[in-house]
Symmetry: C2
Subunit: 98 residues, 2 copies
């Protein structure tokens, strides 16, 4: 099973995008004022604002499309959020075109 991304809360998306690009060899895939996506070789790192999402990581699982609680992101990706027994937030995602 693949982990699609890690999402961490940023207090300033633009500043942190510049810091990650300067500090590590990663590539900017998307950026607006509410979130950004940085590509590392094996996984993506999402910078998100506190009001949008908590810190989490995302696991790809096609079974999520059969979950009656699944919702869709604007880009048609099915998702649900769940918590592990310690309260860590996990996003389960599936992109139908994959």
């Amino acid at each position: 099973m693949i982990l699609d991304h890690i999402a961490i809360v940023s207090s300033n998306i633009k500043r942190d995008v510049e810091w990650y690009k300067r500090t590590f060899n990663c590539r900017l895939s998307y950026e607006d004022e509410t979130w950004a996506l940085l590509k590392f070789d094996n996984i993506s790192l999402a910078l998100v604002t506190k009001d949008e999402h908590p810190n989490h990581f995302a696991i790809v699982d096609p079974m999520v499309k059969n979950d009656k609680n699944a919702r869709k992101h604007r880009d048609d990706i099915c998702y649900i959020y769940k918590k592990d027994p310690s309260g860590n937030v996990i996003e389960i995602i599936y992109e139908p075109s994959n």
Copy 2:
């Protein structure tokens, strides 16, 4: 650049290892009472106890071996911890045998 692992705080390592194995298709690589390592296809997920580490993710960077503040884990892996401008904890690691 590769992200080696994500580390999340667990309040009960044994319980959460069972939950992850039951819920996702991942493989247990190591487990003791203080931490465990679960292997996904593209990255590892470490369950750690609160007293050992905060939530973080680890990036592989050979340059860390030249950092005068670098320390060594018991398994000879060089590491430093740093924070991004928003305060997220990043571990920079390098295993000399790689």
